[in-house]
């Protein structure tokens, strides 16, 4: 049985194992270094406990646990404020019309503007799962548990939620957008820049990023084709998030030009459909499979359950679901269909 719960110091080794098995892109929000990861778990623990420092923003890290074995099979996160007090960098793709009335020509000129407009929006991040679990219900549980957490702690989050999707990278690790733009200015390979981005303050981006807008037409063809395109391995994530109500707008990742998805927090499918219900016992294991969550802050839990009966504000689910959530009869829970 799968459980999503707040990450704990004891998860460090499991998470490192998972992070190490992933492509480079994940590193930008989930450090691969033990010390950095350890600090991140501690900050998450403070966030769940509501004990953040005065200048420290809330950053939540969840793990997917197989409660049979007690091992962790995936990680996901929420930053309450993208940028965490520093600018959150994106490119904003816009177009100018260059037209000459006299010559009768008109041309659409696409421009990438450096933008911090998404700074301070709630950011879904750090999603990492063991490859064999892609396209399973556990995958959906790990991702959407965050939406249920947001629904239950709506006051901690902003009206707009965003998520960065990994952009195009070839099989031999080349990132066409980076090779055509960032490489010239950062003088390092994509993986290095991406790691710095996860580990360091954003000062180096302010220092190294080209300060002026970029004309798309001057990018390489491969880079142009990669603008706003998700990496094919993120297809499942991409579709799941679209189903949640996220859509890709005009914002792109500054390193790989992957799309930044946006949604109104209150319009997220899991938030809209997960009204609080009172928990009751079911006698059978039958019923439609649902996501169910309960508990606040550090006692937040989310799992998959058959929903035996739902009547008004009351629901009946099997007892093992109670145990998994650590809830008992009469407690408030949230439930949303898979």
């Amino acid at each position: 049985m799968w459980l999503v719960r707040p990450a704990q110091p004891g998860d460090l080794k499991d998470i490192l194992d998972i992070a190490g098995g992933q492509g480079p892109r994940m590193s930008s929000t989930l450090p691969k270094k033990e010390e950095a990861l350890s600090r991140k778990i501690e900050q998450s623990a403070r966030s769940f406990a509501g004990q953040n420092g005065p200048d420290e923003s809330e950053r939540f890290l969840f793990v997917l646990e197989d409660i049979g074995t007690g091992t962790v099979h995936g990680v996901s996160g929420i930053d309450a404020r993208a940028g965490n007090g520093q600018p959150f960098y994106n490119y904003r793709k816009d177009a100018l019309i260059h037209a000459s009335h006299e010559l009768g020509v008109s041309r659409r000129v696409e421009v990438l503007y450096p933008s911090h407009a998404l700074t301070d929006n709630t950011l879904l991040c750090s999603f990492t799962i063991k490859p064999e679990l892609r396209r399973t219900d556990a995958f959906e549980l790990l991702s959407r548990a965050r939406m249920l957490f947001i629904a239950a702690h709506r006051h901690l989050f902003t009206d707009q939620t965003v998520v960065e999707i990994q952009g195009v990278q070839t099989e031999n690790g080349e990132v066409p957008f980076w090779d055509s733009l960032g490489r010239h200015f950062f003088n390092m390979d994509f993986e290095t820049a991406d790691q710095y981005s996860g580990m360091l303050s954003k000062t180096f981006i302010a220092e190294l990023m080209p300060p002026n807008p970029i004309y798309v037409t001057l990018l390489s063809q491969a880079a142009r084709e990669a603008l706003g395109q998700p990496h094919e391995q993120t297809r499942a994530t991409f579709e799941l998030l679209q189903h949640e109500g996220f859509h890709s707008g005009c914002y792109l990742d500054i390193f790989d030009a992957g799309p930044v998805l946006e949604a109104r927090t209150d319009a997220l499918k899991s938030v809209v459909t997960s009204h609080p219900k009172t928990l009751h016992a079911a006698n059978t294991d039958d019923g439609e499979m649902c996501l169910i969550s309960g508990g606040e802050g550090e006692s937040f839990r989310c799992t998959l359950t058959p929903l035996t009966e739902s009547l008004g504000d009351e629901i009946k689910v099997p007892l093992k679901t109670w145990e998994c959530l650590g809830r008992s009869s009469g407690d408030d829970v949230r439930i949303t269909p898979l």
């Binding site: 010559l103 010239h184 200015f185 390092m188 000062t203 002026n212 004309y215 001057l218």
Partner: protein, 348 residues
């Protein structure tokens, strides 16, 4: 005798023939009778002081007095960018550095610039193939510096020249292919021509306004920025010898460099000397090598004349010239003339 004088009404046909022979490179003198006539009119108004000095266009003809025909032309535009907007790219550097990461990157960058506005340009040099060699090109080019020197108040302190950039045999420019063509829906030659005709509002409309980072352009395009067309290399050498330097500006279409100099620093200006005319009776061998020739000007605003004479004519206070030279220059015994070496003497 080869004589420099202001362009005249009756030079139109000779001018048209030269423009035809020059091909597409010379956008300021297109083979178009109507346009050339306009240039002549403008020049006549300028020399006759019927237009503001800043608006002046000073075109000089090189006349072969034996043929009685104009065989070359060169010009000074008193100020650029008054009627229209004058564009260049400034080749600049953007430095990004992070001490924390030990990264320090310099990115050559092109910034759209109007900074040559209100500056004097030397332009429109064109010499018939039949008269090339033997220092004639030097005379045609350098006569302008003697004029600038004598009438400095009509010109800016600095003067500049735009040098033709690199293009291949078919007139294709690597910079245009990589940059201009992405924004202008036309051929290089068309853009160049439109721009030469003074119709520049299409540049304001179509030109990218944000800086262009050079690493984003292909090697072939980067390689030609600030470089001149091989046919223009001699002209560049000549100007460099006069003290002109690349000023960091390049042509927005083909990347050709702009070179500039303070008038007071131009060699011809620095080495110029004044003498009183004496008409000589003694015979004189006019046919001396270019090294031994000096330019002699009559210092007249309206009826400016320059020709060359052997340097040996120069005395302590006077210069003794044959009667026919005095006649051609429209000077008499006792008039003050100005002289400067035709070729670089190597003294700097």
């Amino acid at each position: 005798m080869l004589l420099i004088r202001p362009l005249q009404e009756n030079d139109l046909e000779a001018l048209y023939a030269m423009a035809q022979g020059a091909g597409k490179g010379l956008t300021t003198l297109p083979a178009d009778r109507e346009l050339l006539q306009k240039k002549i009119n403008h020049t006549r108004e300028t020399f006759n002081q019927r237009c503001a000095p800043e608006a002046g266009l000073y075109l000089f003809a090189l006349e072969d007095t034996e043929l009685g025909q104009c065989v070359g032309i060169s010009g000074i535009q008193a100020r650029v960018g008054l009627d229209e907007v004058f564009y260049n790219y400034r080749l600049s550097v953007t430095v990004n550095a992070s001490r924390e990461l030990g990264v320090h990157v310099r990115t050559p960058t092109l910034h759209l610039s109007n900074d040559m506005t209100d500056t004097t340009e030397i332009c429109s040099l064109l010499l018939s193939a039949s008269h090339r060699g033997g220092g004639t090109g030097l005379l045609l080019s350098r006569c302008r510096f003697m004029y600038l020197d004598d009438f400095r108040k009509h010109f800016s302190e600095k003067v500049f020249a735009e040098m033709r950039g690199v293009s291949d045999g078919n007139g294709q420019s690597p910079l245009w292919d990589a940059l201009g063509s992405k924004f202008f829906d036309m051929e290089f030659s068309e853009a160049d021509m439109l721009s030469g005709l003074g119709n520049k509002s299409f540049i304001a409309e179509l030109m990218p306004k944000y800086p262009i980072y050079l690493p984003m352009l292909p090697d072939a395009a980067r390689a030609v920025i600030g470089r001149v067309h091989e046919n223009t290399a001699p002209a560049l050498n000549m100007l460099q010898a006069e003290g002109f330097n690349f000023n960091g500006m390049v042509d927005i279409f083909d990347g050709g460099p702009v070179v500039e100099a303070f008038i007071h620093n131009i060699r011809t200006v620095r080495e110029g000397i004044n003498r009183h005319v004496m008409i000589r009776k003694k015979p004189l061998d006019m046919k001396v090598p270019a090294e031994d020739q000096v330019m002699i000007s009559n210092r007249s605003f309206r009826d400016f004349r320059i020709t060359t004479i052997p340097a040996e004519c120069i005395g302590l206070d006077t210069v003794s010239i044959p009667a026919e030279v005095a006649e051609a220059l429209e000077v008499e015994s006792g008039d003050r003339v100005r002289l400067a070496p035709l070729k670089d003497t190597g003294k700097r």
